[in-house]
């Protein structure tokens, strides 16, 4: 595959994934709008954070981008080549370049296989190197992620949660991938261990210069690791901006409310008095007309129920809102949401 010289490593355009609704109470033909027109791109050496609450579709994006799920419509380009409809067979050689790290270090490792063989799997699957070379590579990678290479013959249950997640990371990077999708990689871990894994991911990113799609519900974690951040709400990206910009001057009311809702582990005088985003996200079975956030938005007007706001460039970021916040400096936007 020859890439256009300046093409992003990954480009996703208008990606849509609908699932048929299941369960006895659902009417026939009902559709879950899990991902509803998502576009973004990532370059080598860059990290894009994807943040959102339960059910916003962020994990579905991870599975679409890695082609583990078939998109309903839209386009996925890897190094400038459309791979959206490539067959499994055709995708195989690409799989060593695109890897995924899962959330749960317990269920994502086969309990009956030794750690060395779990980490070596991708090498065998892609026929990379001979047997002794593979063993050497596994030892090298285990060392790199901070595990003792002599523990390669141990089973997953002999490791702690943090160590297991290191195994998951080792398996993802053993083939020298160019794109790694990390789906909530630290959410199952205690904070002291979470910090170890976040530092590890940062080191690997520098070492390998790879492109990283980092998915999390935790906005503080996303801020820490990402160059740019996309905020998802009910299957759509509502705001996409450079990390500094998004956190200092959020333009979408949802972003502002999401940031303001995070409790701060520090003391600044008394408790902050805040009014947060009311209610809960509507069902993705029947998303609201117009802007999907309007049912919880303090600034919603008539037009928001009628016209869906497109994701448009605005002062250096992309925002999908008829009445974006700001013009203001730091904290202004959040303050406006807080004041309602």
């Amino acid at each position: 595959m020859s890439a256009a010289p300046d093409a992003p490593l990954l480009r996703v355009q208008d990606l849509v994934k609908h699932f048929p609704a299941r369960g006895v109470t659902r009417q026939r033909g009902a559709v879950v709008h899990a991902v509803d027109g998502v576009s973004f791109e990532i370059r080598l050496g860059q990290t894009l954070g994807l943040v959102g609450e339960t059910g916003c579709g962020k994990s579905t994006v991870a599975r679409l981008v890695t082609r583990l799920l078939e998109p309903t419509s839209g386009r996925i380009e890897y190094q400038g080549t459309d791979i959206t409809h490539w067959s499994r067979r055709r995708l195989r050689p690409l799989r060593r370049q695109i890897q995924i790290i899962f959330q749960d270090p317990y269920s994502s490792l086969n309990p009956r296989r030794r750690v060395g063989s779990i980490v070596g799997d991708p090498l065998r699957a892609h026929g990379i190197g001979g047997r002794s070379e593979q063993q050497r590579r596994v030892a090298e990678i285990l060392q790199l992620v901070g595990l003792d290479p002599t523990h390669a013959d141990r089973y997953p249950h002999q490791f702690s949660g943090g160590q297991r997640q290191r195994v998951g990371v080792a398996r993802a990077i053993v083939t020298n991938p160019r794109l790694v999708v990390a789906d909530e990689p630290v959410s199952a871990l205690d904070v002291s261990i979470q910090a170890q894994i976040l530092n590890l991911v940062a080191d690997l990113r520098t070492e390998f210069g790879l492109a990283l799609l980092f998915i999390s519900h935790d906005v503080s974690v996303v801020r820490h690791v990402s160059d740019r951040v996309a905020v998802m709400y009910l299957g759509k990206i509502v705001e996409l901006a450079e990390t500094e910009r998004l956190f200092s001057a959020p333009a979408h009311p949802y972003t502002a409310g999401l940031l303001a809702a995070v409790p701060l582990a520090r003391t600044q005088g008394s408790r902050r008095q805040r009014v947060d985003i009311p209610g809960e996200p509507p069902s993705p079975l029947a998303p609201p007309s117009g802007c999907r956030f309007r049912t919880r938005c303090p600034f919603a007007q008539q037009v928001c129920t009628e016209v869906e706001p497109p994701l448009e460039p605005r002062a250096g970021s992309l925002v999908a809102c008829h009445f974006p916040l700001g013009g203001g400096r730091e904290g202004n936007a959040a303050a406006r949401v807080t004041a309602t």
Binding site: G162, Q196, E244, L264, A265, R274
Partner: protein, 314 residues
């Protein structure tokens, strides 16, 4: 296995105590034990839980049952497994009331509707007849709080009440708890692994590690200028949503010990950068380092200048 070991604290009416710690630190077992819920033939426990001067744990089961719910109530992490899936939520609130008070069905139901309104569930007259699966996670947790409040308890123990919820809903539930506390004057014990939740919603904080309290004091002191190496390590491990952006966190090395095989001496010493020879020998006790602020670390207690920075390097 010693899940909880030598925990002491006291709590006044209207105040909030935060119990913070990682998985397995014993914070949930401590809160269950306060209600006598870990009493069983296979469990040993020692110590006393005084409620207005009366030792709760020595009471017979019937008397204890009367205290649970009526004077001390509890909200758990996962509302879906705490609510009965096949009963309407209103009925479950009614049951809580009728277990402890002789009131008519009609009066109990009216109170249930009131409670469901108080906890911020819209259209309470119809929601009272909903089944748990028909409500969202946040609404279910509100129902749990309504049940806990049904008998106007003096103490509410909330064990990770928002850990299963999204952050915007978490903010709503925590605000609800604060509001109800202001209205009723009840004391609140908030158990959480989230330092942000603890910092924003408690007056007093106890940090637990391997079954013991390692640091205890006013919230702004413990979170603002902690002294115990474990507390400092926890605060250095978390990225922040505001302030200078961190490029590197300062994690605590290693992982928490298993409660079945705790290290000798101070349980934290294998992970502690300040550990000395003496830390391996003696289990540290809580020492007063300044008014109201106690730490279980003789090294820092004797030389405060050794305390670690509690912020990630930026």
């Amino acid at each position: 296995m010693r899940a909880v070991n030598g925990i002491s604290f006291s709590l006044d009416r209207g105040r909030t105590l935060g119990l913070v710690g990682e998985s397995g630190s014993g914070k949930s077992v401590a809160s269950l034990t306060m209600l006598g819920l870990t009493r069983s033939p296979n469990t040993d426990f020692a110590g006393e839980v005084l409620l207005d001067g009366v030792d709760v744990l020595n009471l017979p089961e019937t008397a204890l049952r009367d205290i649970r719910g009526r004077r001390v109530a509890m909200v758990f992490q996962d509302p879906l497994s705490s609510l009965h899936p096949m009963h309407r939520v209103g009925w479950q609130v009614v049951e809580a009331i009728q277990t402890h008070e002789r009131v008519s069905m009609k009066a109990a139901r009216a109170r249930a509707v009131d409670l469901i309104r108080t906890v911020g569930i819209p259209s309470p007259e119809s929601r009272v007849d909903a089944y748990p699966h028909e409500l969202s996670g946040g609404m279910r947790q509100r129902v749990m709080i309504a049940m806990a409040l049904a008998l106007r308890p003096e103490i509410l123990i909330a064990d990770e009440p928002t850990s299963a919820l999204d952050v915007t809903v978490q903010a709503q539930i925590l605000q609800l708890l604060s509001r109800l506390q202001d209205e009723t004057g009840m004391a609140l014990i908030l158990v959480s692994h989230d330092l942000g939740v603890i910092a924003e919603h408690t007056d007093e904080v106890a940090v637990m590690y391997a079954g013991r309290i390692v640091e205890h004091g006013p919230g702004d002191v413990v979170i603002g200028r902690p002294l115990h190496p474990y507390t400092c390590g926890l605060l250095g491990s978390i990225p922040h949503v505001d302030g200078p952006r961190t490029t590197r966190l300062t994690p605590i090395p290693g992982s928490p010990p298993s409660a079945v095989r705790l290290p000798e001496g101070c349980a934290f010493h294998p992970r502690c950068v300040l550990a000395q020879r003496s830390c391996e020998l003696e289990v540290p006790t809580l020492e007063l380092v300044e008014p109201g602020h106690r730490i279980a670390c003789p090294v820092v207690a004797h030389d405060r200048s050794l305390a670690l920075p509690a912020l990630p390097a930026s």
